[in-house]
């Protein structure tokens, strides 16, 4: 695998499938009494979170610890956007501490790309979500979840529904699922589809009811109510009526079709509670799979390379308001 994971587009089909098969091995670990491998002993992984994200941070933390790495959580109080410490200075600090991998979540699109290409640090960079750009490990765990339920993704139809414009999950999934042979349809009101989406390797639709009866997977995206204030849609109620997944729409799905959501959900907005809690829903399983997939990514990125040369810090630093 390459040194960094910045975009789902970085992965060839072989590499993506290697992550999935490695994740399957990692997942079997969860059934053992001791859920720990010595693979990354002595290696340091920093979770650098400029945005609060409890679930992603905990998922990476669990993944690193199960591989016996030293995991440092660094919750930056704000990016340079909010006049805090700059991305560069934070990176230089991490470099001085000798991180082998930096898992970065940042509100600015491209921030992980900057970290990886700026010569500020030498460590591997894993994008844990950047602005409205990408979230490649989310796409990998989504693909892994689909793969466990449906087998090969070749020719499978995946509907990704909601605020595609602002969704890093949608971008990464569109790229990765295409790589894995699935047929992706983005379903969204026209205002929430990105300009230029016709050049993506996907189909698009404005009509949810027309798409979901043929889908093998329906992935609902979080939609923030505040979007209506920027005129993306008139009201939350109208959005739910046209693009929400409720019991009536769920009844039109094929028997094997699964329902996914990257979380956090807005129940009653893009998905109703009865759908989220139904047998079709694999939303909780996505979280379990997230740890296995992130273990696989960290293992494959770090497994073959040498540890950082600088001295390791003695104890875990939990500076800042870690959410």
């Amino acid at each position: 695998m390459k040194r960094h994971l910045l975009s789902a587009a970085d992965l060839t089909r072989d590499e993506a499938e290697l992550v999935l098969s490695t994740a399957e091995e990692m997942r079997s670990l969860a059934d053992r009494p001791i859920k720990k491998l010595p693979a990354l002993r002595g290696r340091t992984i920093v979770n650098l979170f400029f945005e609060d994200s409890t679930r992603t941070r905990i998922s990476f933390e669990a993944a690193g610890k199960r591989l016996s790495a030293d995991v440092i959580n660094f919750a930056a109080k704000g990016s340079s956007l909010s006049k805090g410490e700059s991305l560069k200075d934070t990176a230089l600090t991490l470099e001085a501490m000798g991180a082998d991998a930096v898992v970065v979540r940042h509100g600015a699109s491209g921030a992980p790309h900057r970290l990886a290409s700026s010569n500020w640090i030498r460590s591997s960079v894993v994008n844990a979500g950047d602005g409205t750009h990408e979230h490649p490990t989310q796409a990998l765990l989504d693909a892994f979840t689909m793969w466990r339920h449906l087998g090969s993704l070749d020719g499978r139809r995946v509907a990704i529904v909601g605020d595609v414009l602002h969704s890093r999950v949608a971008r990464s999934n569109a790229l990765l699922l295409h790589t894995l042979g699935a047929q992706v349809t983005l379903v969204s009101p026209p205002t929430l589809l990105p300009v230029g989406v016709e050049t993506w390797p996907v189909e698009t639709s404005y009509d949810l009811d027309a798409v979901i009866p043929k889908a093998d997977v329906v992935m609902m995206l979080r939609v923030q109510q505040e979007r209506m204030h920027a005129a993306f849609f008139p009201t939350a109620r109208e959005y739910s009526r046209r693009y929400g997944l409720d019991g009536r729409r769920m009844a039109s799905l094929q028997d094997h079709t699964i329902v996914m959501h990257p979380g956090p959900m807005v129940r009653g907005m893009e998905i109703t509670a009865d759908v989220a809690d139904s047998d079709r829903s694999v939303i909780v399983e996505q979280v379990t799979n997230g740890v296995a997939v992130r273990m696989a990514v960290l293992y494959l990125l770090l497994g073959g390379s040498q540890p950082a040369e600088t001295e390791q810090p003695a104890e875990t630093d939990t500076e800042g308001a870690d959410a």
Binding site: S86, T132, G196
Partner: protein
Amino acid sequence: MSAPTYLITNARILGGEPTDLLLRDGAIAEVGAGLDVGDAEVVDAAGLVALPGLVDLHTHLREPGREDAETVESGTRAAALGGFTAVHAMANTDPVADTAGVVEQVWRLGREAGYCDVYPVGAVTVGLAGERLAELGAMADSAARVRVFSDDGKCVSDALLMRRALEYVKAFDGVIAQHAQEPRLTENAQMNEGELSGKLGLTGWPAVAEEAIIARDVLLAAHVGSRLHVCHVSTAGSVDIVRQAKANGWDVTAEACPHHLLLTDELAATYDPIYKVNPPLRSRRDAEALRAGLADGTIDIVATDHAPHPLEDKDCEWAAAAFGMLGLETALSIVQETMVDPGLLDWAGVADRLSYAPARIGRVADHGQPLEVGSPANVVLYDPSARRVVEAGELASLSRNTPYAGMELPGRVVATFLRGRATVLDGKLV
């Protein structure tokens, strides 16, 4: 201040046959082959093109307020090295150049620096806030004799205010230089809106946000019979609108920036904010339309939009970075690369787009004159056969935010003369 007498030998005026120019007492005293040397200092210009001193209608000198990025002194040094003998200093300083006091201060700093003439641009509205007119008349009547007014960096988006500004400056033959950017369509905009902005997850800056304002403004200018200048035109659609306005006989002029002629939005895929500029780098098709517009005269001038920023404002994530790039020391090379070498413009055309026309729009009497006897001795000698690799650290600007670092560009400014005094000789500041 008595400058030495210079005899420039074998210069090709506007690329023509080699001839000599004698610069004496601030003026061009003689032109012709085999002039007598007398007591003049000889500048051998064999193989060099002689152009009238360049005039930039769009420069950010940052003083007062951001002397960490640029000063009038450093900015005019950069200008001289780029072949400029006059620059128009934009008003978005701190304090804003919206009073006679501030424009006179900038004007005076320029005179003291002495590397090129500085013509302050006055703000259209108080504090660039777009709410009420600044004292345009006071700035026009001041020692700085302001004729160009602009809220550059911000758009005068209020249609009524724009109309009044256009009307008001007729009293002193002023011009409103509009930064055309519809604010609601460009909230938090980061790069050209298109295929790439969607992929990169960077908020788009759509062409229509520029074109809608230009379309409105040319109609307003026609309606009130005033002069409009459109800053940094960046889209093919904007070129079409300006072309139509000119065909209608309306008094509209427009500028293009070197970076929009050469660079395209694909560079944003690096997420390196050295390529972040406002208006943003556009598509290849837009760049080609700008070149065609500049060639046929739809675009009247090249202006640099030289926008220095300290390192920390660029050495960060894209969204946090400042908009803007350096331009003074590379402008002529990029015009050669994009216009002259491909055969779109000859050296006479370059003299028009970078000297005569900007001086005319800015109502600058002492610049933009043809290289003939009696004209002020504002001359640049340029070697179009040279090649150079741009090194950010070697620029005279206090800032380093050039998008051309490491790029090989044609041409080199060998000498610049301001009213007969050399500001640059052998490619170095005097």
